[in-house]
């Protein structure tokens, strides 16, 4: 399973990620992304990769989810 990791230091609230991947990412009232804690469904992995690639701040990485977490 993949998980989305956002580097909060790098993130500058562009909000593209929530536009591209509303299924997993919403924005708080200041425009910063909130990732839901759920495992990323397989069919969303490609979109998540695109969100990571398109982030102007390169704040998103995809990680293999560690077992049991």
């Amino acid at each position: 399973m993949m998980r989305i990791l956002i580097d909060p230091v790098a993130c500058d609230a562009y909000g593209y990620c929530a536009e591209l991947l509303p299924e997993a990412i919403t924005l708080d009232e200041w425009g910063y992304p909130i990732v839901d804690g759920k495992p990323l469904p397989r069919e969303l992995v490609d979109t998540a990769r695109r969100a990571a690639r398109d982030c102007p701040r390169r704040a998103i990485t995809l990680r293999e989810r560690k077992g049991g977490r």
């Binding site: 990791l5 580097d7 909060p8 230091v9 790098a10 993130c11 500058d12 609230a13 708080d28 009232e29 200041w30 425009g31 910063y32 909130i34 990680r63």
Partner: protein, 428 residues
């Protein structure tokens, strides 16, 4: 800086951190020299690690991580690293590390030298914030004594990072040493060793190192003669608030919270205790007998944090005091992460409105949502501490929340705070 006082340094039994001679000659005469390796270094390393493991020592800087595991990680990071002595003590209500370095600097430095030997580190760096000249002078004097007596196998250096709340966060400290920027790093894998340049850095709270130095001398059993089986040893705790004798005490782990508070003689019947500092939690009177130990505190939603117990007297508004803390914590953000930069001031403003009884219809729901959303979204745990503090306030002072939310504040809020804040900081 407020004066550092020692309410009482006595614990039962012979294991204790405070109360030993301050000077090197007296220190060595009383406790013996630090048991550093001579000759068979491999045998020494194994023996040292097994003693530390058997002691069950956990870090005293807030996270409570087992010291033996931290040592193993640092050892794996390779030779030539730095032992960083974290005496940043950013919590405004904590004095224990200041007192320890003023009274027993050699114990802390011995602990650092032992860990340097165990990890083949090449230097010891003691971090004392700018402005704390009394502590810095004590450390400098101790270092000079040790250099002259040949008691410092690796170089010991005193450095002076800025005096800010997050400056003592371990990744911020490592980064400041490397680049002069006192900023926490985003580290999703906290188990990986910290680095300064290409070399490893082992960051330990000053009190933890004093325990290492004592345990290496006394063996694990003397340490385990205090405290609980699952949470052994003693701890330094700073007591303040509505008490007659604020100061630092050395207590056995597992001591009931109210017994700790009573060591400083509360001026009235406490309405709550703040345990763990401004990133800690309020504790309700029904939990006053909770043992001061990691698991017991976790069970009531609190943490030992750094050793802090603050007594809130009957003539104070817990909500206003919490609003002040929230504003202080908001002002201490490193300014790197949006949820902390924007979330903490918003939460603090909500708390001030609540405490003043200036409550709009959406306030409580908005505050709850902000607390939920801000938690866990910073590079470091600074926002989490502030959120936990406010959450505990809403729970412990629930009856006050109800009256304040109806626009009828208690009236105590306009009183001078019972809490300690740095002189330069002004409450909203």
């Amino acid at each position: 800086m407020h004066s550092v006082s020692e309410a009482s340094a006595q614990t039962t039994g012979r294991y204790r951190l405070l109360g030993h001679p301050t000077d090197l000659a007296g220190h060595v005469a009383t406790l013996g020299p630090a048991p550093l390796p001579s000759g068979n270094a491999r045998g020494w390393h194994e023996a040292f690690v097994s003693v530390l493991e058997a002691s069950g020592l956990a870090g005293r800087g807030g996270a409570g991580f087992p010291s033996a595991i931290k040592l193993a990680v640092a050892h794996a990071a390779g030779k030539g690293g730095t032992i960083v002595v974290n005496a940043m003590e950013g919590e405004p209500a904590s004095d224990k590390d200041k007192l320890l370095l003023i009274r027993s600097p050699h114990l802390v430095l011995d602990g650092a030298q032992l860990l340097a030997a165990a990890t083949s580190a090449r230097r010891v760096m003691v971090c004392v914030p700018e402005g704390r000249e009394q502590v810095a002078a004590a450390v400098s004097l101790a270092m000079a004594e040790r250099a002259a007596a040949g008691c410092a196998p690796v170089e010991e250096v005193l450095v002076r990072p800025p005096d800010r709340f997050v400056a003592g966060e371990e990744s911020a400290l490592a980064r400041w040493i490397e680049s002069g920027q006192s900023l926490p790093s985003f580290r999703p894998d906290k188990g990986t060793p910290l680095r300064i340049g290409r070399k490893g850095a082992l960051v330990h709270n000053a009190e933890t190192l004093a325990h290492v130095a004592m345990i290496a001398r006394t063996g694990p059993d003397a340490f385990r003669a205090h405290g609980l089986v699952e949470d052994p040893g003693t701890s330094l705790v700073t007591i303040s608030g509505a008490v007659e004798h604020p100061g630092v005490v050395e207590i056995d782990r597992g001591t009931p919270l109210i017994d700790i508070a009573n060591r400083a003689t509360p001026t009235g019947v406490p309405q709550a205790l703040l345990v763990g500092g401004y990133g800690g939690s309020w504790v309700d009177p029904v939990h006053f007998t909770t043992p001061y130990a990691s698991l017991s505190l976790r069970a009531i939603g609190a943490t030992a944090g750094v050793g802090i117990v603050i007594v809130l007297g009957p003539d104070a508004c817990g909500l206003m005091e919490s609003a002040r803390i929230a504003h202080y914590m908001a002002g201490q953000s490193a300014g790197q992460c949006g949820p902390c930069v924007y979330g903490l001031p918003a939460i603090a403003d909500d708390m001030t409105r609540l405490a003043r009884g200036h409550v709009d219809a959406g306030l409580m729901a908005r505050l709850e949502r902000r607390l939920r959303e801000v938690h866990g979204r910073g590079a470091c745990r600074h926002p989490d501490g502030a959120v936990n503090l406010v959450r505990s306030a809403l729970s412990v002072f629930a009856a006050d929340v109800a009256t304040h939310a109806h626009g009828t504040p208690c009236g105590w809020g306009s009183r001078t705070s019972q809490l300690r804040f740095p002189p330069a900081w002004r409450a909203a």
